[in-house]
């Protein structure tokens, strides 16, 4: 914890400090464009098979549409577009992660496939800053599991900086 706190993503980590009891972190692993990613498990409310989506004309580019989850209106974002990786057609494995954004709005995040819950000790996570400058600040760090790399995303940062949809049509 001490060495992580000196790094560039200390701010992001502190935001999650409440969820980090003990040395082991629970993350939900998933796939975007063939690569392994993970987010803090406590941020995910539910994992769903994507229901039919309704497109919202003139919304921001990363908005896939709207759906209803037991009466609750959910705005669905393409997490691949948020992160900036290649998209592909939905498959049997495509899933929707429900998360609560700041302000209470429930968002659905579309991912290519959901893996299992990963538990990583601190020794297994490298801070993003030690990996080179080209990582966005939405990357909290990189974990290693069985020799494979898992990019750990900071959803709070990722969702806070997305465009709100204003002026998309005119611009």
């Amino acid at each position: 914890m001490a060495d992580l706190a000196r790094t560039g993503s200390a701010r992001a980590l502190r935001r999650h400090a409440g969820h980090q009891t003990g040395a082991v972190r629970e993350l939900l692993g998933f796939v975007l464009a063939g690569d392994a990613y993970a987010v803090d498990l406590t941020r995910i409310r539910e994992i769903l098979t994507p229901p039919p989506l309704t497109r919202v004309p003139r919304a921001a580019a990363d908005v896939l549409g709207l759906c209803s989850v037991r009466g609750l209106l959910v705005t669905v974002l393409d997490l691949r577009r948020c992160v900036g990786v290649a998209e592909s057609a939905p498959t049997r494995r495509t899933r929707l992660l429900l998360t609560e954004a700041e302000g209470g709005e429930v968002l659905g995040l579309l991912v290519d496939e959901v893996h299992q819950v990963v538990r990583l000790g601190h020794g297994e996570v490298e801070p993003a800053s030690s990996l080179g400058a080209d990582m966005g600040d939405h990357v909290m760090g990189v974990g290693r599991r069985d020799g494979a790399m898992i990019v750990i995303l900071d959803l709070a940062v990722l969702l806070a900086r997305r465009p709100s949809g204003a002026g998309v049509r005119d611009g």
Binding site: A59, L73, V74, V106, G165
Partner: protein
């Protein structure tokens, strides 16, 4: 300090005196009209307004006795005004008595004499009796078993016609007619023409059920003195079902008392034979004490959650109806009939529940207006202008949430009117206007909307100054100026960046322009319009929905998307004729009954792309005419599905800036449909000059 207070008190007395004198004049005129055998509704209206102003004044100065008296008097006049009570000599006597009692109250107030005035209590009791007698006779429409949903959407005029017809002894019929969508325009006119010979069509509404996708079913409410057989002979046909609307099981006329103690039928008859005027009156009780003990404060969020439950029940209702349809198609008649009965009962009770909850949410606009009255006083003083504020329709009710949000925009509009509209006293004198400027604040209900007008008798808007400022700010190009219509010029004041801080005065400035007012009104689903005559005055009109909860909507398809359009904003749907489209000033328009209607191709606006097969034989499309306030727009859609009750859910914060939608709703098959926001579409398409420049949208 005490000098100022005395001065205000003096003003209060002289104004109250003046109003009472006006009231007295009105009553005398009413009496004369009554003796001549006619009742002039405008006189009753005037009396009502006078008493209403008196009530507001009494509230402002804490004159409780006067407030209580004018409040009760207002109720009685309201009953008279809306025809709930007849203006007979008994009522007139009580009204005349009020003039004397008001005089006595004023004298006592002036002497600061708090001794009880028996005359006040006596008159209050008399007015109570009148009111109680009136409430026993209900609105004439309650004699008929009319769908409350239908009653709720009648415009004031339609309601008036309904009552007039019932009072004239005509019977009500429901004509359920299937129209082909392609020809509905013409066919409906024909139907109306034919029906006119046999009675009066009071209103017509889509039922939301249609035999096929190419047809639409309408219910026409017809008042006629002919019997059913004659009407079937005259108007019947394959596509027309005529049914008499049953009267409620109740004998006797509207003015007979209908309340009887349970299980005392004999006694009820006895009571019924006693004329209303000498009926035993319930023991007088202290009205204020009662209202305190019988009122509960409710958090509006609790009402929201109840409303959500009702919304979910409405979906159950829709599902039930689909089951009924399926069972009927499968030919299981007895089961279908039973389901239909259940469905109807459910529908009726649900509507009652919904109305009940909505009613609780409603508060009179008077809540904001009272605050504005004080603002007017204060600003008038600051600017050294004498202003008379005339309020009508403060009793008009609207959703509590809307009222909360109205206060700031209205305050700003009034500030503007006093600051920029009303001229200084000398100037007014030189053009022959009364020295005291008048600001009228009028509210009334119109169908499912509430209209609020802020009108001043000031100098009006200087259009040339407006245009030159707009040009200097780069809002319009000098070359465009000659083409601007008057309404477009006036609308410039709503353009962001038009009014700026350095030109605004102390009062109306503060960096808060009319564009903010407009945005705030739009957030409530309303629109604002402006009219102005140089030298005569300016009128701003706000049109707002009554409530933000459940609405009936027309479902339409554009490309392969289903959208819901709240019916309150839909005036008609007609077949689209591409040959009738002309391009005027780069906008597509068509002619509808002699008037120009601007069109909006939703598929292009939303970038939905052409439907497969459009290139080939052009498919039939439709124009749905939406209107908000005086402005209308024709939305071109591919298909009409019919009507459905929907609960509008707000879009999440991440979609807050997406234009054109009021929210989303569940369509009942797990899919979500976007709800089009007619107000914002009209705004976007009609008002914006720049947004419609893309060449692609210009050719049919």
């Amino acid at each position: 300090m005490s000098d100022a207070t005395d001065k205000v008190r003096d003003e209060f007395f002289s104004e109250a005196q003046e109003i009472i004198e006006t009231l007295s004049r009105n009553l005398l005129a009413l009496d004369a009209a009554q003796k001549a055998g006619a009742t002039d509704p405008s006189l009753i209206n005037e009396a009502f307004r006078a008493v209403h102003t008196l009530k507001g004044l009494a509230g402002l100065f804490g004159a409780a006795r006067m407030g209580a008296l004018s409040h009760r008097l207002e109720d009685v006049l309201d009953d008279l005004r809306l025809g709930r009570m007849d203006l007979d000599p008994v009522a007139l006597d009580a009204l005349f008595r009020s003039i004397d009692v008001f005089g006595a109250v004023l004298t006592a107030e002036r002497k600061e004499d708090d001794a009880p005035l028996p005359a006040v209590d006596e008159l209050l009791e008399r007015l109570d009796q009148l009111g109680a007698a009136a409430r026993r006779g209900q609105a004439p429409s309650s004699e008929y078993d009319l769908d409350p949903g239908l009653l709720a959407v009648l415009t004031e005029y339609e309601e008036h016609r309904l009552h007039a017809n019932i009072e004239a002894g005509f019977a009500l019929y429901r004509l359920r007619v299937q129209f082909e969508l392609v020809s509905i325009d013409r066919a409906l006119e024909e139907m109306k023409e034919r029906a006119k010979r046999h009675g009066e069509i009071i209103t017509y509404l889509p039922t939301g059920e249609a035999a096929s996708a190419d047809s639409i079913e309408l219910d026409l409410l017809l008042a006629s003195k002919r019997d059913l057989a004659a009407l079937i002979g005259a108007l019947g046909g394959d596509n027309v079902v005529i049914e008499p609307i049953p009267r409620r099981a109740r004998s006797g006329g509207a003015h007979r008392p209908s309340v009887a103690p349970a299980g005392a039928a004999g006694r009820a008859q006895e009571l019924a034979s006693i004329p209303a005027a000498v009926e035993p009156v319930p023991a007088p009780s202290d009205p204020t004490l009662r209202s305190v003990t019988q009122t509960v404060r409710v958090d509006i969020r609790k009402l929201d959650s109840l409303m959500n439950t009702v919304g979910e029940l409405a979906m159950v209702r829709s599902a039930l109806h689909r089951v009924f349809e399926r069972v009927r198609r499968e030919g299981q008649r007895p089961l279908a009939a039973e389901l239909q009965r259940l469905h109807r009962t459910f529908e009726r009770r649900l509507a009652e529940l919904q109305d009940g909850i909505l009613e609780v949410r409603m508060v009179p606009l008077g809540q904001v207006f009272d605050r504005l009255a004080r603002v007017v006083r204060q600003i008038g003083r600051e600017l050294g202008k004498e202003i008379r504020l005339v309020i009508t329709g403060a009793e008009t009710e609207i959703d509590k949430l809307i009222v909360e949000e109205l206060s700031d925009p209205l305050m700003h509009m009034i500030r503007n009117a006093i600051d920029h509209g009303i001229e200084a006293a000398e100037r007014r004198a030189s053009v022959g206007k009364p020295a005291v400027g008048t600001i009228a604040l009028n509210a009334y209900q119109k169908g499912n909307h509430v209209m609020i007008e802020v009108e001043d008798d000031g100098r009006g808007i200087d259009e040339e100054a407006l245009v030159s400022r707009a040009v200097s700010r780069g809002i319009v190009q000098a070359a465009e100026v000659p083409q601007l219509a008057r309404s477009e010029i006036l609308a410039l004041i709503f353009v962001p960046g038009f009014s700026t801080r350095n030109e605004a005065s102390d009062v109306s400035g503060r960096g808060f322009g009319m564009d903010i007012v407009k945005t705030n009104i739009a957030k409530l689903g309303g629109v604002i319009d402006i009219q102005s005559e140089p030298g005569i005055g300016t009128k701003l009109t706000i049109t707002l929905p009554i409530t933000l909860a459940i609405v009936s909507a027309l479902l339409v398809r554009v490309a392969d998307h289903v959208y819901a359009l709240p019916l309150a904003t839909v005036s008609e749907a007609i077949a689209f004729d591409p040959a009738g489209v002309r391009v005027v000033d780069r906008r597509e328009v068509m002619t509808l009954r002699g008037a120009t209607l601007q069109l909006c191709r939703l598929d292009r606006l939303f970038g939905l792309g052409a439907r497969p097969g459009e290139a080939g034989g052009a498919p039939r499309r439709f124009v749905v005419v939406v209107n908000v306030g005086a402005r209308r727009l024709g939305l071109i859609v591919d298909h009409l599905f019919g009507q459905q009750d929907i609960v509008i859910k707000a879009l999440g914060a991440s979609l807050a800036s997406v234009k054109g939608f009021a929210g989303a709703t569940e369509l009942g098959d797990q899919r979500v449909g976007l709800v089009l926001d007619a107000a914002s579409l009209i705004e976007e398409v009609l008002a914006s000059h720049d947004a419609h420049r893309p060449e692609a949208s210009l050719h049919g």
